[in-house]
């Protein structure tokens, strides 16, 4: 009798474990964490040129910072853009929230950095990942979707006056200082 009562150290009675509810929640968070770790590993091992991303410095795996270099032959050539990724806790079943941190002049990006891109909204599937999103964004820089602009002026200038467009791009671009 005495022995059954004194369970081994470290193993708590199941009732108590269930009450704390830690394992279940941990399991959910675990799968998101695993997925993000895997994505990070993939990004690190097979890096595509011009894009990179990494979790933020406070160690929160759900919040990343990414860098995109403007592709050559576009008005954005030679510029780098910082973005923030906020992953929801049910990622990858919901898209991350992606914002441009660097001010950018682009038909599909508004002045607070919000992006109009279908795969970040209704076209999102769990098959996408950080790398594909970054590649899509990189190509969006060269081929804006002028049919549904967030920045009407930019959409207009893109077709009419490339020189003025380039001037505006350079005028708006600023390197964001961290810290």
């Amino acid at each position: 009798m005495e022995d059954t009562q004194n369970s081994a150290p470290g193993t708590l009675p199941p009732a108590q474990a269930a009450k704390l509810g830690a394992p279940r929640r941990a399991a959910d968070a675990q799968s998101t964490t695993k997925r993000l770790q895997t994505e990070l590993m993939q990004l690190m091992t097979s890096s595509a040129p011009g894009i990179s991303a990494f979790p933020s410095a406070d160690g929160n795996l759900l919040s990343w910072t990414a860098t995109i270099e403007g592709p050559d032959d576009t008005p954005y050539a030679g510029l780098t853009f910082k973005l923030s990724f906020a992953f929801p806790s049910n990622y990858p079943y919901a898209p991350p929230t992606v914002l441009f941190k660097t001010p950018i002049y682009h038909p599909n990006v508004d002045f607070s950095g919000r992006i109009c891109l279908d795969i970040l909204k209704d076209k999102w599937t769990a098959a996408y990942n950080t790398q594909t999103v970054l590649l899509s964004l990189q190509s969006l820089l060269g081929e804006p979707n002028n049919a549904s602009p967030l920045n009407g002026e930019a959409a207009e200038l893109w077709d009419k006056d490339p020189a003025e467009f380039k001037r505006k791009v350079l005028g708006r671009h600023r390197d964001v200082d961290e810290e």
Binding site: Q5, N6, S7, A8, P9, G10, T11, L12, P13, A15, Q16, A17, L20, A22, P23, A26, K34, Q37, T38, L40, M41, L43, M44, T45, S47, S52, A53, F54, P55, S56, A57, D58, G59, N60, L61, W64, T65, A66, T67, K82, E178, E179
Partner: protein, 905 residues
């Protein structure tokens, strides 16, 4: 009876029968303040009808007439419109006129005097409703509005006006009551009471909402002054809050307040609503006091002082006993609780009792009632304190052991299972938010855990609370890989520095454990298991009601035991301990006093059997020393006296610190002989050792065989240390290195000093030394970082015989750097150094990190991020990472500025 009187009476009878005589002016019955249509309610309108319909009912007519007389007399004057509300209004106070009394008699007892009057009405009810109307129409509109006035003034004006109209109403009522006293079936006190009740109901319902805000402001201000609390606006005073003693001002304010409450009661504003308001204010101020007086005060500096003060300790104790509520009596009171209870008793309860007395209008004696309530208030205030402390608990624990007073507070308060549950719930949540996330280092978590164990033990000897909050923490610790290692290095670290001062806990090791282990030494003697049977224990308490089924009592906090319990079982712990102690034993020479001591302590805790192999390991090392001496003497491996003399002469004792003379002229060999079965899995990479060493090993083997015939030596080449002296053209380098590093540099040895620097490719070295490529590369990298080798083309290294100026500067910098941070190589069992294949991947991570997360990061943070983000874990120590980053700095890819690494642009 005089004639005149008789006449008078006759006249009165005549008047009764035939109505008012012409001599009396016939005023309109309508009182001035009421529109005629609403005149005096039912009876009068009926009166006209009746008179037209029938004159038979003389009684009725008489009654109506009396009614008119009385109502005219009782008519209430309008509030004079020209009066400024500030001026006081002095309405005319009437006394009963002629005929009034008679008429009143009729109205009061119609059954006996006018039995046939059909329509009668209660004059008092009528008067009450008149008063109500008057109040609504005349008084209510002129009560000052709050918006543009200062709170106390509004209040005092309202009170003045209400007092005046009160006087007016009562004056009229007293006219009635004068006559009532002569009646048998009515009692004037009862009527008075009813009237008061009705009037107060009207007033308190109509007026209280209007003045509630100002009343609250005034009350709050007054009460907080009396209780010695600073007002909400006075931030400076709030921050440096010191409970003040009662002064003359507080006494004055108290009198004022009591007077005000008395007038409020008189005018009927001290009803239920007022009492609720007062109760709310008192409750708020109690919370406020607890917050101001106790927040963040976790230590008890005054306790000591007070004990040394004038009062003798005994009398202090007596006072404390009496000041506490009975429920908290058993605990030793802390400063906060004591002050709180004193405050409740001397100020809070005093005020409340006084207010109650005023409200009741009686002199309540300090009987049992208030005393019980004072007890209750103390309990409530301690409850407030408990919830404050519960919210602060995490910080209190971080401050431990400088926060014992706060824990005392909490212990006084957590007397019910509900409060205990609340405590653990709140704490578990804080713990999750503030500690159990990747941002906290394992060391930090463990330190907090140690504080938690001790604090919760102080809080609740039964461990029930700790078990409830610690479970998520334990789970989390199990998910951290470095937990065990940190615990063990903590146990093996020095609790005292060289000057025998205790080492602070801010360092990178868990030195708390070492000191705890030392303290435990004495306590372990008496076994805690017998506690259940100790019938002489005066402090025995039953198991707490909320203890779980697996509950086991234990008396001391047993930090180390609990920590080891975290790891699931002692096996994990002992295995890791074995690994770490093996590392220590192989790497260092000397007596290993600390290891022996820790081992002894652990044996006392776990028993002999599980630690047997550690015992053998230690014995191996100690035996090795003796065997080594014997073999070296037998095989004549020791340098001769002649050699020692030459060696001493050839080198300056000031320079090569730690170099023994025996190694200077020819290679020398010492061995540690290990019993293979008892040691953890060790490196067994093999390679060709240098010939001279090979010869020495052979002689050593022979010596061993002659000493212990049945046993054979197997060499573990990769383990061990070598002291290497390199003589280059322009400098001499002495390094303590691994044997395999020594072997690689030996391969570069050139016998002809005039030759061009030796060149070797990685390929050549791998073949020649029969060594794994990773190991070769690692060693090459090491020597390159020491500026002994240089990579002249890809995978081809040559000796740097001479250094140019720039290199020399770097070399010096490295020497100082390496003395500043002696690399602590802990990777005995795993691979040594960061291998090139893996390096590429880690480098990607570090680049990604510095590019995106933060442009500059300290070493610790990089290490933490790597450990967290790489799914397979990052198996290297901070020192290895530092070394690796050092190469990157040397290669010009990184910059190291102000303790932080950043990418070179």
């Amino acid at each position: 009876m005089s004639k005149e009187e008789l006449n008078e009476r006759k006249k009165r009878v005549f008047d009764w029968v035939f109505g008012q005589s012409k001599s009396q002016p016939r005023t309109t019955p309508a009182p001035r303040f009421i529109p005629p249509s609403q005149n005096s309610g039912g009876p009068l309108t009926n009166f006209t009808h009746d008179r037209n319909e029938s004159n038979q009912h003389i009684d009725q007519v008489l009654w109506d007439r009396s009614w008119r007389t009385v109502t005219e007399n009782l008519a209430l004057p309008d509030y004079p419109s020209h009066l400024d509300p500030i001026q006081s209004w002095n309405p005319e106070m009437k006394t009963a006129g002629a005929g009034f009394s008679e008429a009143l008699q009729d109205l009061l007892s119609p059954q006996t005097r006018l039995p046939r009057a059909t329509y009668t009405e209660d004059i008092i009810a009528w008067y009450t409703s008149q008063v109500r109307h008057h109040f609504m129409r005349q008084v209510l509109p002129i009560l000052p509005e709050l918006q543009d006035e200062i709170a106390p003034q509004v209040l005092y004006k309202t009170i003045t006006i209400l007092e005046t109209v009160h006087r007016l109403y009562l004056n009229r009522l007293s006219m009635i009551l004068e006559d009532v006293t002569s009646m048998r079936h009515l009692s004037s006190p009862r009527i008075m009471r009813r009237f008061h009740r009705d009037l107060h109901a009207v007033i308190s319902n109509l007026v209280t909402p209007k003045i509630a805000a100002s009343l609250q402001t005034v009350l709050k201000w007054n009460v907080s002054t009396i209780l010695g609390l600073p007002s909400e606006r006075d931030q400076r005073k709030r921050q440096m809050f010191v409970p003040t003693a009662e002064t003359r001002t507080t006494a004055r304010v108290r009198d004022e307040l009591l007077r005000m409450i008395e007038s409020l009661r008189n005018v009927g504003l001290a009803g239920e609503k007022f009492q609720i308001m007062f109760a709310e204010i008192m409750n708020d101020l109690m919370t406020d006091y607890v917050l101001l007086g106790c927040e963040g005060i976790w230590s008890d500096p005054r306790a000591q002082k007070r004990r040394n003060g004038r009062r003798t300790p005994a009398s202090t104790n007596d006072r404390q006993e009496s000041i506490l509520p009975r429920t908290a009596q058993h605990a030793s009171p802390s400063k906060c609780v004591r002050e709180l209870c004193e405050w409740i008793e001397n100020r809070y309860a005093k005020l409340v009792v006084q207010v109650f007395q005023v409200l009741d209008g009686t002199e309540v004696k300090h009987a049992k009632g208030p005393l019980i309530q004072v007890e209750k208030w103390k309990e409530i205030s301690i409850g407030h304190l408990a919830s404050l402390r519960t919210n602060e608990l995490f910080d209190i624990i971080l401050k431990w052991p400088h926060s014992s007073a706060a824990l005392d507070d909490l212990r006084t308060a957590i007397t019910t299972p509900q409060r205990r549950l609340q405590l653990t719930n709140v704490f578990a949540q804080t713990l999750n938010e503030r500690l159990l996330h990747p941002g906290a280092s394992t060391l930090q978590i463990l330190q907090t855990y140690i504080s938690m164990i001790s604090s919760f033990h102080a809080l609740d000897h039964s461990k029930v609370l700790l078990d409830r909050v610690a479970y998520p923490l334990q789970l989390y610790l199990c998910s951290r890989e470095d937990t065990v290692r940190i615990i063990i290095t903590g146990l093996l670290s020095d609790a005292e520095d060289l000057q025998r001062n205790p080492v602070g806990s801010g360092g990178e090791k868990l030195v708390e454990l070492a000191s705890l282990l030392n303290e435990d030494e004495e306590q372990l003697g008496q076994k805690a298991n017998d506690e259940e049977l100790d019938w002489h224990d005066p402090d025995w308490l039953p198991d707490p009601v909320d203890a779980g089924p697996g509950y086991k009592r234990s008396k001391n906090a047993d930090v180390i035991g609990t920590l080891i319990g975290v790891l699931g079982s002692q096996d994990v712990f002992i295995k890791e301990f074995q690994n770490i102690i093996a590392e220590h034993l192989l790497k260092n020479d000397g007596g290993f006093e600390r290891e022996v001591k820790v081992l002894e302590l652990l044996k006392a805790r776990f028993g002999e059997a599980p630690l047997q192999s550690c015992e053998v390991m230690l014995k191996d090392i100690q035996d090795s020393g003796r065997v080594d001496t014997v073999i070296r003497r037998n095989q004549r491996l020791d340098p001769s006296d002649e050699e020692i003399r030459i060696a001493n002469a050839s080198f300056d004792p000031h320079e090569g610190v730690g170099l023994v003379p025996e190694g200077v002229l020819k290679p020398s060999l010492h061995a540690k002989i290990l019993s293979r079965l008892f040691w953890p899995q060790l490196h067994d990479e093999s390679y060709r050792v240098p010939d001279s060493i090979r010869k020495l090993q052979k002689r050593y083997e022979d010596g061993f065989r002659s000493l212990k015939a049945s046993r054979k030596l197997t060499w573990l080449h990769a383990l061990g240390q070598a002291t290497v002296v390199l003589e280059l053209t322009d400098r001499t380098i002495t390094e303590e290195v691994h044997t395999w590093q020594a072997t690689v540099i030996w391969a570069f040895q050139s016998d002809q000093p005039d030759d061009a620097p030796v060149r070797k490719s990685v390929q050549e070295l791998t073949e020649k030394l029969e060594m794994e490529e990773a190991l070769v590369r690692s060693a090459l990298k090491f020597w390159a970082s020491k500026l002994v080798l240089e990579e002249i083309e890809k995978d081809v290294f040559s000796v740097l015989e001479t250094l140019n100026q720039e290199d020399r500067a770097r070399s010096n910098a490295q020497v100082t750097a390496s003395t500043a941070a002696v690399p602590d190589d802990t990777a005995l069992v795993t691979n040594d150094g960061i291998t090139p294949e893996k390096m590429q991947m880690y480098w990607q991570y570090i680049q990604g990190m510095l590019k995106n997360s933060s442009s500059q990061m300290p070493l610790q943070q990089i290490a933490m991020m790597l450990k967290m983000l790489i799914a397979d874990g990052f198996p290297y120590s901070n020192e290895e990472l530092q070394e690796f980053l050092g190469w990157k700095v040397a290669a010009g890819e990184l910059e190291f500025v102000g303790g932080k690494y950043k990418l070179k642009k």
